[in-house]
Structures are given as C-alpha cells and as structure tokens.
Symmetry: C2
Subunit: 339 residues, 2 copies
C-alpha cells in the first residue's frame, strides 16, 4: 500500500506539519530531525502525490507559453486567447516572457520541462534552433505561434506575414506614395522578415525601390521605433519618406510620436501603417491603419493543434496560415506633396 | 548511494531513452515494459533530480505571479517589471492569468504550489481569502501587488489608491466640474474601492454629492466601460455628467469610445480621467489624463520583499504604499457649459 504523510509522521514520531515543512524546505526544524524525517520518507518510499504523478508520467493538464515580451499587447492578447481556450479544454496555462533574449528563452524552456507541462506553445524567435532539441528529444509536444522554425517539423499557426506586407504596400501605393521607409524588428524575427519581403515585393512590382537606409531594424520597443523614425523624418522634405510601414503596432506608435515631436501632420506629411491590430491601434491619435492578425482564432487554433498532438503524436505537421486583414483608420492618406 | 537513470536502465534491461520515456509518459513503449521500468524505479528508490529537489525542499529559483487579466496592459507591464527584477536576482517567473474568476484563481494557486515555486506574487483579487490558506500553511511565501488582503499578514506593495482618487477629484473640481460620475471596477477589487472612496471623500469636502446611479460597477473590459459610459452620457445635457472618473485606463478608453460614438467632444463636452498610466494613456485620442502608478518600482519592490521573505521569514510584514501621480494630458478640461 502507498505510504501517506500520516505514515511518515507516525513512523518518524513527528507531526504532520513537520513532515510538510521538510517537504517544502521551510519552517524551523533541526537538521537532525529533518534528516530523520527524510530517511523515513525514503524507507516508506513515500511520494507526495504531485511528485508521484511526475514520476509515473501522468498528465499535468498544464500547458506552457513562451513569448518574447508580455508587455507588448500583441503577446498579452495572444496569451489571453491561449489561456481562454486552454481553460475551455480543461488545461491551465503557464506564461513565460523572455525579453527576446536567447539566454532567457533557453532558461524558460528548461523551466517548463522541469515543471512537467504537457506541451509547449512557443511564440518567441530564437537564433539557435538547437535549443528546442532537448525538449523534442524528451518528446514534449511543441507548437509554434506567430513565429516559425522552418527547419523543424512543428505544428505552426501564423498569419500570412508576406501577404500582410503586400497589403500594406498596395494600400500606400494606391494612396500615391512613392518614397517610403520601413521600421522592421530584429532580423531574427521571422514574421518581421516576411512582412518586409512582402512589402518590398509589391513595391518592386510597382517599379518602386527603396534606398538601403530606408529599412531600419529596431528592437521591439516604442522608444526604439521613435528613434529610428526620427532619424528618417528629420531629413529634408524633398527626400523624407511620405509613408512608414511599421512591422508592429508598438513601432508604429513610436513613429506617431516621432511625427508629433517634429510637428509633422499624420497622414498629410507622413502616413503610418502598423501591424497586429492590438488594442493600441484603435486608441491612437490618429487611429492607426494596421494589418490585423486574427488573435483569438490563432490562440484557439494553436491550443487545438497542441491538444491533438497530446492525444496522438503524428508525423504530419500542419502549418496553419491565417489571412491578415487591412484595417484602414486615419493614420494613412495621400501624401500632401509629391516628392 | 543514490540510484541514477543508468542504474534503472541496467537493472530493468532497457535503454536510458526508455526510462526517460516512462518518466515523461511519452513515446511508444508497451504497458508491460512500462510497468517493469516503474517497478525498477521504485525498487531502486530512483528519483529524477527535479523531483528529488522538490522532495528534499531545495530551492527551484522560480517565482509565480498571478494576475487577473494579462491582456490589461497594466498587468502585462507589472509582469514585465517583475520578470526583469526576478531575472536580475537570478529567478525565473511563471505568470498565470485568472480572468478575475475565483475558480481560476484557486486553480492557479494550486498549480503554482505543485510546480514548486519558491514564492508567489498575487496581483488578483479574490472573494474568498481562505484560498490563500493552504499556501500559507505550506509555508510558501506570498506577497501581494496592486491588491490587498487586509485580514492576512502579507507583504504588500500598492499605490495609494485613496490618494489617487482624491487627486482625480481635486483636478476635476479645480477645472470647475460639479456633475461627475464614476466607472468603477467590480466591488471585490480592493484598489478600485479605495479609488472610489478617495474620489467621493474629496467631492464631499467640496460639498459635491453624486447620485446613486452615478457610480457604475463595470467588469474590467473596454466594452463594459463603453456600455456604462454610454448609458451615463446618453442623458440630456442638463443632467449628463461633465466628467467621468474611470478606475483604470481600459475603462477610460471605453469612455472615450462612448463619447466619440455620441459625438461628444472630449474634454469640452465631457472630461475623462483614467488610472494606471499604462502605454494606452499616452497614445489615446486625445491623450489621457490619468493617475500614474509607478509600475517599474512596484515590480522591483515586490520581488525584493519576496526574496527577503525567502531568505528569512519574519513576522513583521511591510505594507509599501507608493505615491501615485496625476499626469495631466488632453482628456480633461473645463466644462463647456455649466449644468
């Protein structure tokens, strides 16, 4: 019969509280007594239930989500959508935020393994794909959201970033813009790379080329977007871009702030278009034209894929590509003066 | 001597990978072989290192954070600040979002216990304070941020919500407002209750009273704030409030949206003041006057208190009350017409 905490307490001649304290490594208890209790636990082969379930490989009904920055509303809204769907399906969610740093990504991947999550949802980019290997070796199901690891066979839910970039470009070209610039994220962010590619592709089709200095890689903060936008918009009106394509809403807010600081009117002097359609986009001054990602359906889909994988491992991995949508608000318009 | 995974594999006559698979409950392995491996583990008293450290009460260098809604930028920014300070001090952070529901709060508290966090930071309200008892009984250090549990002796970091409410009222009174209304959060949210109290207190000092229907309890979403604001602002101009005090920035955004829908000018027809000073406040149209909480210092402080508690339990609990700050932007002004 399985030993209980009562058995341990009786055998060791101590209170249940004392046994509990030893298990938690807390409370005032002498080293001597602590050692004796531990020995009793061992002798009775006592395993607290949680630990026992980890030992026997039982499901924990917990999922892990790794995002690059929880203070970016896009990832906060993704986390919310994943939590809601997880809850719906009877799973709890552990969220980890990595500050986009590989070292923290690795630490959190290890942590989630140690915490015995049933599966992981990764929404953060990483330079080194080998970081995922130990997890996949341990056969913990992993799915990706909003990011891709093309060398690895993983279920992936993304928006069509390339098409999103094209939509932005088509919108700006249709408004009459010719001199444009891009605020991109760090080059390791796959989604941002695709958005830039799509944007440039459509520009190319229209016979428009951008100078090398017109594509700026930013870290993902508002401040960084503002700094890069300032350096672009401080140029003389004759060479200044009339429109900025920003690879996320945070960078677009930086661009709006830069325009405000330089007393440039949006959209008359400079049009700004974002990406994500987070809560931010609907509240900015002026409200932000942006490319919407279907955040709720993406969160639902990624949980469903992970649970499918938990139920039955399959060699066939899906790459679910959702359609982005251009949301026109007031931050884009025809350029006031043609360059 | 402690048994290793090699001992188990050798004794059971299987590969290390097979033992690992059994521990993780994954991989293709027959039930028979699985049972045999488990029996061998038991016989050798084998405990994988993570589980062993949980058993012997070693530190896991992991903290847990429970927030009501990660998609509210206030809590996302708190989470970011806590993660940063935790990282600085060598701790990882597990974030859980409860959707403000007691049932989910309880589930996540249990989960964090099971996952052997060294300590917990609670930023969510709960109707039933008994939910925290099992954790405190297990001697897991708990600290509160942005919420209070006054019946329990816990380190707590809050902003002075009462003073924040007073600041809002003083600002609106100074601008000449007499007919005001409040969008409050759910009555179980202690911080919101204090803000309302402070606001009403200062109104009382100025001889201004609010009608019973002027204090609206909302859920914490933008949509809900908008609905309540609409019902307040749809009233005839002679009785309509000229200013709305909103107990967080999300509700203030709902109020701005309601004003826009009713074609009321902000601040000429209605002033709106928020609380929190999240990223939202600086980007709204018009930019939002709000009461700033010092989010970064609060996150740092709460981690420091928790680590202090981890190092040495103390009966003396601190209640750190930080000073809020009125940030005047363009959403408040003198009422155009006196009621």
């Amino acid at each position: 019969m399985k030993a209980t905490i009562y058995d341990v307490a009786r055998e060791a001649g101590v209170s249940i509280a004392a046994v509990s304290q030893v298990m938690n490594g807390k409370g005032k208890i002498s080293e001597e007594r602590r050692a004796e209790i531990l020995k009793t636990m061992e002798r009775l082969n006592y395993q607290p239930s949680v630990i026992a379930s980890a030992l026997t490989g039982k499901k924990t009904y917990t999922l892990g989500l790794v995002v690059p920055d929880i203070s970016n509303p896009f990832f906060a809204e993704i986390a919310r959508a994943v939590e809601d769907q997880g809850h719906e399906m009877g799973y709890s969610l552990i969220i980890c935020s990595t500050d986009n740093k590989d070292e923290r990504v690795e630490r959190y991947l290890t942590l989630l393994q140690q915490k015995s999550v049933d599966g992981m949802i990764i929404g953060t980019g990483m330079d080194n794909k080998d970081m995922l290997k130990p997890i996949m070796d341990r056969a913990i199901p992993v799915v990706m959201i909003a990011r891709e690891m093309q060398d690895l066979a993983l279920h992936t839910v993304v928006v069509d970033d390339f098409v999103g970039g094209r939509m932005s470009a088509s919108h700006l070209i249709a408004l009459g813009h010719k001199r444009m610039a891009i605020l991109a994220e760090h080059s390791k962010v796959t989604s941002s790379r695709e958005r830039v590619k799509g944007f440039l592709h459509t520009l190319g089709e229209a016979g428009i080329t951008l100078s090398d200095t017109s594509v700026r890689n930013c870290s993902y903060t508002v401040e960084n977007g503002k700094r890069e936008a300032l350096s672009l918009l401080e140029q003389p009106a004759a060479v200044r871009p009339t429109a900025l394509f920003c690879c996320n809403d945070m960078l677009a807010i930086g661009a709006l702030q830069a325009a405000k600081q330089l007393k440039l009117r949006v959209p008359e002097d400079v049009s700004v278009i974002g990406f994500d359609n987070t809560i931010l986009a609907s509240v900015t001054d002026p409200p932000l034209t942006t490319i919407a990602q279907p955040i709720e359906p993406m969160g639902k889909q990624v949980v469903d894929l992970l649970l499918m994988e938990l139920k039955k491992r399959s060699q066939d991995k899906q790459r679910v590509v959702m359609r982005p949508e251009l949301i026109v608000r007031q931050s884009t318009g025809a350029p006031a003066t043609q360059g």
